[in-house]
């Protein structure tokens, strides 16, 4: 859940109510609250108007900075821990195209790998 969504939920505010105060479209507020549009991707003025409408500092509705691969200010273990915490568990769930594209399952989907590759010739790892 985004920080904006948490504030709206805690104050029992609708998207329309905030949008009216901020002179924005309700859809804009909804997209930011649901995370459909990352708040980092909109104009600073839009963020300021929403923060002002909620009487909170701008930083209160910005999302925390995500960990970055290779960040030398953190140890490898700390980087990976932060990444698991921030990327695998947090954030508002977003719509995602399912990989399930057919109701029918092909027969080989359940074959163990040994059977699947049973007739495959041995691979020469040193081939030119």
């Amino acid at each position: 859940m985004t920080r904006l969504a948490i504030i709206l939920h805690e104050r029992n505010l609708t998207y329309t109510a905030v949008a009216t105060r901020a002179h924005l479209q309700p859809r804009t507020v909804r997209q930011l609250a649901t995370g459909e549009t990352p708040i980092d991707n909109v104009a600073v003025g839009t963020v300021r108007r929403i923060a002002s409408a909620l009487s909170v500092p701008v930083t209160a509705i910005l999302e925390p900075d995500l960990p970055h691969p290779g960040d030398a200010t953190l140890s490898r273990a700390a980087r990976l821990s932060a990444a698991i915490r921030e990327l695998m568990w947090s954030g508002a769930p977003v719509a995602y195209a399912s990989p399930v594209d057919s109701a029918e399952v092909d027969d080989i989907a359940t074959l163990p790998a040994d059977e699947f590759f049973a007739d495959m010739p041995a691979i020469d790892g040193s081939r030119a």
Partner: protein
């Protein structure tokens, strides 16, 4: 259904790279500005999934690069990773790119089907590795068991999404590896890759399926290249398909 202890193995920082390695990576995609996902209609064969919160780099002429920081699964086959080494090439001449699939965690998404319908039930199919485009990654109660030094955190149920394959630097994979797939489950990864590339890129699955049970009445060689021979097959109901055969 695969479970954690059967699927994963610990990977040391100095261990050699392998397919099945899971690492924290920057994955880049080029696209038209704001294209998320491409296309106006659902296309299970061609749609590129959108990932949350990309960093954007503007390019000229309405293009941009979207960069996602996320975990990825190395799918490059081990023999490709080791190829230069096997050929006695120096490390400077090793392949610098590895192919990885983004890892999609359950808490970050709600799956949507072709009609915009919520597909919560899809996870049962994903767990069974039924879709050709995904490899199920089971949850882990405590990641620190596999990755020493990492906090005692759970790893959610997730899948590697083969629709989003990208290439990354092998040095980046080495820098932020978390754990790897156990040898037994690597076979399942390879099976999924074979299904994915055969079903989606090489074969017209529906044409091949339509020929099942038919009698082939004509086979016309079209052209040969190297050890490959393209042949047009015609069946007793008049339908046809072109296949590529490898000559042994």
């Amino acid at each position: 259904m695969a479970v954690g202890p059967e699927v994963y193995r610990a990977v040391g920082e100095s261990d050699e790279l392998s397919s099945g390695d899971v690492a924290f990576l920057s994955l880049a995609r080029t696209r038209l500005v704001g294209e998320s996902p491409p296309g106006e209609t659902y296309d299970p064969l061609g749609r590129i999934p959108a990932y949350p919160r990309p960093a954007l780099l503007a390019l000229p002429h309405g293009r941009e690069v979207a960069v996602d920081a996320m975990f990825g699964l190395v799918v490059t086959h081990s023999c490709e990773i080791d190829r230069q080494k096997n050929l006695d090439a120096s490390a400077d001449h090793f392949d610098c790119r590895l192919t990885v699939a983004p890892i999609v965690p359950e808490p970050a998404v709600h799956l949507v089907g072709s009609n915009g319908d919520d597909q919560t039930v899809s996870w049962a199919a994903i767990e069974a590795n039924e879709p050709v485009a995904s490899l199920f990654l089971p949850p882990i109660a405590d990641v620190s068991v596999l990755a020493s030094g990492v906090d005692a955190l759970p790893w959610p149920r997730s899948f590697a999404d083969l629709r989003g394959l990208v290439t990354v630097s092998r040095s980046m994979v080495e820098a932020d590896r978390l754990f790897g797939l156990a040898p037994d489950y690597l076979g399942t990864l390879q099976r999924q890759l074979a299904r994915f590339f055969t079903w989606r890129d090489l074969a017209r699955h529906e044409l091949v399926e339509a020929l099942v049970g038919r009698r082939v009445v004509d086979a016309i060689p079209l052209n040969a290249r190297g050890d490959r021979l393209r042949v047009a097959l015609t069946t007793d109901d008049g339908s046809s398909v072109t296949v590529e055969l490898r000559v042994r």
